[in-house]
C-alpha cells in the first residue's frame, strides 16, 4: 500500500480517477486522430506520429524559453499560447516533409515497406532531437498558475482544465470540418475508397497532405499539453503516448474519426481506473507501475476479441 496517499471517501477517489482518466484520455484522443486519419486513407500506421508529438513539445520548450528571455514581461498564458503556435508551426511542415520524402514514394509498395520506413523515421527523429536537446529531462516552465483547484474533494489543476477544454474544442471543430464542409466530404470520400474518389475528381495527394497536416497540428498541440501537464520534456517522451494513442485508435475502430475520439477517452479511463485500483485488486502483486501494460493488454484484447474496434471496420482476417 502506498503510505502517503491521503484518505478520501471511496466515491471521491473514484470520481478523481474518472477525471484523471478523461484528462489523459483526451490527450490520447487527439493523438489517435492523427493515426486514424492517416490510416483511413493510406492504410499506413504512421509510427513516427508519437515522435511528432515529442517534437512539438520540444519546439514549445524552445519557444517558451526564448520568449521568456526576450520578453520577460509577457504573461505566462500568452507565452503558452505562442508556444503552441510555435509547436504547430514546426510540426506541420515536418510531418508534410516526412510524408513527401519517406511515405509517398512507397505509396504502392507492399505494406511492410512503409512500416519499416516509419520505424526508421521515428528513430531518426528521436536521435536528431537528442543531438540538439541532449538526453536529459528538461523542465517545462510553469506558465499558468500551478495552484490546483479543489472542488468537493476533487483536485484539478488549471493546466488540466485547459487541456480538457481545448481537446473538446478541437474535437468539435474537427467533427464539424468532417461533416459540414466540402473539404471534410473529400476526406471522407477518400478514406472510403481512394481510387473512386480520384475518379470523381478529388486530388488524393491533397487529401493526404490535409490528413497529415491536421494530424500534425493536433500532435503539436498535444505535445505542449503533455509538456505542461507533466512539466517534463524528454527526447523519448513521444513513444509511449504514441503507442497508447494507436491503441486508442484501434479500440475505437481505426479509420473512424469518432472512434478515435471515443477510444481515447475509454483508454484513458481504463488506464486511470486500472492504475488506481490494481494494487488492491491483486493484493499488491501488481502495482501502479505496471500502468503502461494496460494499453498493450487492451490492444491485444481488442484485436483478439473485437478487431473491428468499437465503431470501425474489420482489421483482422478470418484465420
Amino acid at each position: 500500500m502506498l503510505p502517503s496517499k491521503p484518505l478520501r471517501a471511496p466515491m471521491t477517489e473514484f470520481l478523481q480517477q474518472i477525471i484523471n482518466g478523461l484528462i489523459v484520455g483526451s490527450i490520447y484522443s487527439l493523438v489517435a486522430l492523427g493515426y486514424t486519419m492517416v490510416y483511413g486513407i493510406l492504410q499506413l500506421i504512421n509510427f513516427a506520429h508519437g515522435d511528432i508529438v515529442m517534437v512539438g513539445a520540444m519546439a514549445a520548450l524552445f519557444a517558451s524559453k526564448l520568449l521568456m528571455t526576450l520578453f520577460p514581461w509577457m504573461p505566462g498564458p500568452l507565452v503558452l499560447a505562442l508556444s503552441v503556435v510555435a509547436a504547430v508551426v514546426v510540426c506541420v511542415p515536418l510531418s508534410l516533409l516526412i510524408e513527401r520524402i519517406a511515405y509517398r514514394p512507397l505509396r504502392n509498395a507492399p505494406r511492410l515497406a512503409p512500416l519499416i520506413t516509419a520505424i526508421g523515421i521515428s528513430l531518426t527523429l528521436q536521435t536528431v532531437v537528442m543531438v540538439f536537446f541532449g538526453r536529459n529531462y528538461h523542465e517545462f516552465p510553469s506558465l499558468v498558475p500551478q495552484q490546483p483547484i479543489e472542488f468537493h474533494g476533487l483536485v484539478i489543476s488549471v493546466t488540466q482544465i485547459i487541456i480538457l477544454v481545448l481537446s473538446f474544442v478541437c474535437m468539435v471543430c474537427l467533427a464539424l470540418l468532417i461533416e459540414k464542409t466540402q473539404v471534410g466530404r473529400m476526406m471522407r470520400a477518400t478514406s472510403e475508397n481512394p481510387k473512386v474518389a480520384s475518379l470523381l475528381g478529388i486530388d488524393t495527394n491533397k487529401v493526404v497532405i490535409l490528413a497529415f497536416g491536421i494530424g500534425a497540428a493536433l500532435a503539436g498541440l498535444t505535445g505542449v499539453m503533455l509538456a505542461a501537464n507533466y512539466s517534463l520534456v524528454h527526447f523519448y517522451m513521444g513513444f509511449i503516448p504514441g503507442l497508447k494513442a494507436f491503441t486508442a485508435a484501434v479500440l475505437g475502430g481505426i479509420g473512424n474519426v469518432y472512434g478515435a475520439m471515443f477510444g481515447g477517452l475509454i483508454l484513458g479511463l481504463v488506464e486511470s481506473l486500472g492504475a488506481g485500483y490494481i494494487g488492491p485488486l491483486t493484493n499488491d502483486f501488481l502495482g501502479s507501475h505496471y500502468q503502461d501494460i494496460f494499453a498493450f493488454v487492451v490492444l491485444i484484447a481488442v484485436l483478439t476479441l473485437r478487431p473491428t474496434g468499437l465503431m470501425g471496420e474489420r482489421v483482422a482476417d478470418r484465420a
Partner: protein
C-alpha cells in the same frame, strides 16, 4: 550441397584466424567480433520469423531476454540469495551445467514464442507488428518490476555474477582473462569467439536445412499468399506458431550465450531499440536471404563500432576541438534509423535480394513504374 570452391575455403580460413589478427589491435576489437556473432545469431532467428514466414515481429528481443534471464537465474547466486529452499539445495548459488541450462533457455523461449504468437495469428502485417511490439515491452516491464513482492528478476539492478561457459571443464572466462587448455593459451574473448563461431555455423546450417524442408516451403508459401497456402492444405496456424517458436529458440539460445559472456543481465539490454536493431539487420541483408542476413548483421554490428573511432575526431577536425555534436552512441542510432529509411526507399529487397537470380528479361507483374515487384515484401491481405 553445392561444390566447395577455393573461395569458400579461403573465407573459412580468414574467419578462423581473424581473432589473433584483430586481437593485435586490442581485446576490445575481438569483443566486438563476439557481439557481432551474437547479433548474427539473433538476426538469423528473426529472419525465420520475418524473412521466411513474413511475420513482422517487433518484440523479438523479448525472447533474447527470456533466454538470458533464465540462464542467469540458473547460473548465478541470485536465486540462492532470494529463496531459502534453493539455498538449502545449492548454497553456493545455482550452477546448472550449460548442457542443461542453454537448451532449457532455448526451450522456454520457444514456449514464449508460441504464447506470444498465438494471439497474433489473425492479424495483418501492421497490427502484428504493433502487438508484438507490445509484447516485447510487456516482457521488459515485467523484468524491470518483478522484484516485489517476490524478487525473481532483481528489477532494474539486474542479475550479476553469472557463470561463464565452461567447455569440457575449462571455463571460458579463464584466469585473469586467459584460458589455458592442453598447452594452448588464448584470451577469453578469443575463446568465446571460436565458440560463437561454431554455434553460428551450426545455426546457419540449421537455417539452410529449414528453408529447403517442407516447413520452410510452407513458411514461404504463407509469406507470399496466405490464403493460397491454406487452400493448398498447409496448416497456417501451426506453421506460424512454429515460425515464432523457431525464431524464439534462436533468440533464447543467443540470449543465454550473451548472459554467460557478459556475466550480467539487466532490463536495459532488452529495449525496443534492440528489437529494431535486429530488424534493421534483417532488412538490410534482405528478408529471407540467409547469407544476406549474416552480412547485414555483421555490417550493422561492426560499422557503428568502427564509427566510434572516427566520429569524434572527424567532427573535431571540422568544427574544432570539444565541439563534436554527435557522439558515438548517437551516431549508432542515427545509422540504424537512416539505414532503414534509405534501404526501404532505395533497395527494399535488401543488399542481397533472394530474387537476385531472376533472369533480367522477365517482367513480372509491375505494380509501379519505378519498382519491380519484390515478392518477399508482398503481403496479400488487401481490403476486399
Amino acid at each position: 550441397m553445392k561444390a566447395i570452391k577455393p573461395v569458400h575455403l579461403a573465407l573459412i580460413l580468414v574467419l578462423l584466424i581473424l581473432p589473433p589478427i584483430v586481437g593485435t589491435a586490442g581485446g576490445a576489437w575481438v569483443r566486438i567480433l563476439d557481439f557481432a556473432l551474437l547479433y548474427i545469431l539473433l538476426a538469423l532467428g528473426l529472419n525465420i520469423v520475418v524473412g521466411f514466414a513474413g511475420l513482422l515481429d517487433l518484440g523479438f528481443i523479448a525472447f533474447y531476454a527470456v533466454g538470458a534471464y533464465l540462464y542467469a537465474l540458473l547460473s548465478s547466486p541470485h536465486l540462492s540469495e532470494q529463496f531459502a529452499w534453493i539455498a538449502a539445495m545449492s548454497p553456493e548459488g545455482m550452477h546448472v551445467p550449460i548442457w542443461i541450462s542453454i537448451p532449457i533457455a532455448g526451450l522456454l523461449a520457444g514456449v514464449f514464442g508460441i504464447l506470444l504468437g498465438a494471439p497474433t495469428l489473425k492479424l495483418r502485417g501492421d497490427y502484428l507488428a504493433i502487438v508484438t511490439l507490445g509484447f516485447g515491452e510487456i516482457v521488459r516491464i515485467f523484468l524491470n518490476n518483478l522484484n516485489a513482492p517476490v524478487n525473481i528478476t532483481n528489477g532494474p539492478q539486474g542479475i550479476s555474477q553469472i557463470d561463464p561457459i565452461s567447455v569440457l571443464g575449462v571455463s571460458l572466462a579463464g584466469e585473469r582473462g586467459v584460458v589455458d587448455f592442453w598447452g594452448f593459451s588464448v584470451s577469453s574473448v578469443v575463446a568465446y569467439y571460436y565458440l560463437f563461431l561454431i554455434l553460428t555455423a551450426v545455426a546457419i546450417l540449421v537455417c539452410f536445412r529449414l528453408v529447403d524442408s517442407r516447413i520452410g516451403r510452407a513458411w514461404v508459401a504463407i509469406r507470399e499468399d496466405e490464403i493460397a497456402a491454406k487452400a493448398m492444405g498447409i496448416n497456417t496456424r501451426n506453421m506460424k506458431l512454429l515460425a515464432f517458436s523457431a525464431g524464439a529458440v534462436f533468440g533464447g539460445i543467443s540470449g543465454s550465450l550473451f548472459a554467460s559472456f557478459q556475466g550480467f543481465v539487466s532490463p536495459e539490454s532488452f529495449t525496443l531499440f534492440e528489437s529494431i536493431v535486429v530488424l534493421a539487420m534483417v532488412v538490410l541483408g534482405g528478408l529471407g536471404n540467409i547469407w544476406g542476413v549474416v552480412i547485414g548483421a555483421a555490417m550493422l554490428a561492426a560499422i557503428p563500432e568502427a564509427l566510434r573511432l572516427i566520429v569524434i575526431p572527424v567532427q573535431e577536425a571540422i568544427l574544432g576541438p570539444g565541439n563534436a555534436v554527435i557522439d558515438a552512441e548517437v551516431a549508432r542510432q542515427l545509422l540504424y534509423g537512416l539505414a532503414m529509411v534509405v534501404i526501404m526507399l532505395w533497395r527494399p529487397s535488401g543488399l542481397i535480394s533472394s530474387v537476385a537470380n531472376r533472369p533480367k528479361g522477365k517482367a513480372a507483374v509491375q505494380t509501379t513504374n519505378e519498382e519491380p515487384v519484390v515478392p518477399e515484401l508482398v503481403t496479400l491481405n488487401a481490403k476486399i
